[in-house]
């Protein structure tokens, strides 16, 4: 029992790559072709095994750090005229300065006694990276805010606001506890397409603030304070989408 369509069109159908007319043709063909029905089922099973087996391997932290170091300094310093330093170097200096000022100003309560200015942004990006390792993302895995919210009860000395934004394209995936600079924080996990977003939440006594954002190691973060809570969202998602989530969280 064989059918030549198992070699071609069936895969376009499986991958959602056929136009509507060809997909309809193939569906009509499926009614009378047992070979294609069997092949389609086998390939669908294979696909879900591949996708569920956790085969995707994310870049190790060491690679990100090497890239940061190499791209942070000119990649081809030897051929650069010394008398003409690249303007972005000054930008980098300025950016570092701004980040230091920002962190000094915004996060001093958290960092009091800590020596590293960029420590918090690094700590949060590191925590984000850690969470992407298999099995580390969620302690409570649920898309239901009424499951996630009570899960935090008794585990924290504050109640993080938990909302599902599935209708806005940011379905809630779950939550977990994390430790950032010795403080236990709540983390809410949202998804956007294939991207994951970690939202770190902890209480603050500082007044409300406008969002501030930045990026590190290829990850973007956006941080704000609202009603006694500070939230920092981190993701490899593009900054515009991340800002959209921040608006939702701030409401």
């Amino acid at each position: 029992m064989s059918c030549e369509l198992t070699q071609t069109v069936l895969h376009g159908y499986l991958d959602g790559e056929l136009d509507a007319a060809r997909a309809a043709d193939f569906e009509r063909h499926l009614i009378s072709c047992a070979a294609c029905v069997a092949a389609l089922e086998a390939h669908e099973n294979l696909r879900s095994s591949l996708q569920r087996a956790g085969l995707y391997e994310r870049a190790p932290l060491a690679l990100r750090e090497k890239l940061q170091a190499q791209l942070g300094a000119p990649a081809r310093a030897s051929v650069m005229p010394i008398r003409n330093p690249a303007p972005w170097r000054w930008l980098a200096v300025a950016a570092t300065f701004l980040l230091a000022v920002f962190l000094g100003w915004r996060l001093l309560p958290l960092l009091r006694g800590n020596h590293g200015e960029t420590a918090l942004a690094s700590a949060i990006v590191d925590a984000h990276l850690r969470s992407l390792q298999p099995g580390h993302l969620e302690d409570v895995q649920s898309t239901d805010q009424h499951t996630v919210k009570p899960w935090f009860d008794g585990k924290l000395d504050f109640a993080p606001p938990v909302h599902d934004f599935v209708n806005e394209g940011f379905p809630l995936q779950g939550g977990r506890l994390d430790v950032v600079h010795g403080r236990t924080v709540a983390v809410l996990v949202y998804a956007r397409r294939k991207h994951l977003i970690n939202v770190f939440v902890w209480p603050t006594t500082e007044p409300d603030s406008e969002p501030l954002s930045g990026s590190q190691l290829g990850y973007h973060w956006i941080d704000f304070r609202k009603a006694g809570m500070e939230m920092c969202a981190v993701s490899d998602l593009n900054p515009d989408d991340l800002a959209e989530l921040q608006h939702l969280l701030m409401q």
């Binding site: 069936l10 991958d15 790559e17 391997e57 190499q70 791209l71 303007p87 290829g218």
Partner: protein
């Protein structure tokens, strides 16, 4: 999309381009690593090659004129992998995974448990496929690329992508369901 990355300006990017690179390309470092890990069949060399590819992308970023940054980067990653394999492990490109060089560990209750592990089994099966089949499966099933993106990354027509995926999936099914000895016998008969 620009096809080649060779022969473009080696000038260091100005601040604006640099910011664009950080925003458009750097977030795809996971995709770069994942593709190179599967083409290199291991993490150790994959890290070096992904790093080299990212640096090449950085140097050739002026040749990127908008569009799909991930596909653009993955094209460079793929080229970098194949260049590396040709130079250092050309046997990978011409022959299939040789199970005599990578023998199955002897069977104990522990290894049986590992063999039952889906991840282990699928990893071995994927690594056994020739690279041209492996890459389309990785791009499609793990990276979620469209045919159009895979066509751009592999410099192949879309029809070729579809038939490569068809053959890759059939091969993978066969690797997963038949013991190696039987496949070898069949391969011998086909010759």
């Amino acid at each position: 999309m620009s096809a080649g990355v060779e022969g473009e300006s080696l000038d260091v990017l100005d601040s604006q381009d640099r910011a664009r690179f950080e925003q458009l390309v750097l977030p795809h470092v996971d995709a770069a690593f994942n593709l190179s890990r599967w083409l290199m069949r291991g993490r150790a060399d994959a890290e070096d090659v992904a790093q080299e590819a990212m640096l090449r992308a950085f140097r050739f970023f002026r040749g990127f004129h908008g569009g799909d940054a991930r596909a653009w980067l993955l094209q460079i990653v793929r080229n970098t992998c194949y260049t590396w394999l040709e130079k250092n492990r050309s046997v990978d490109l011409t022959t299939e995974f040789d199970e005599e060089l990578h023998p199955q560990p002897s069977v104990t209750p522990e290894t049986l448990a590992i063999a039952g592990d889906n991840r282990e089994r699928l990893t071995r099966a994927l690594e056994e496929l020739p690279p041209r089949f492996r890459e389309v499966l990785v791009l499609r099933e793990l990276e979620g690329c469209s045919y159009k993106e895979i066509a751009a990354i592999t410099s192949a027509p879309i029809g070729t992508v579809m038939s490569a995926l068809a053959r890759a999936r059939q091969r993978l099914q066969r690797v997963l369901t038949q013991p190696a000895a039987q496949r070898k016998q069949e391969a011998g008969r086909e010759l």
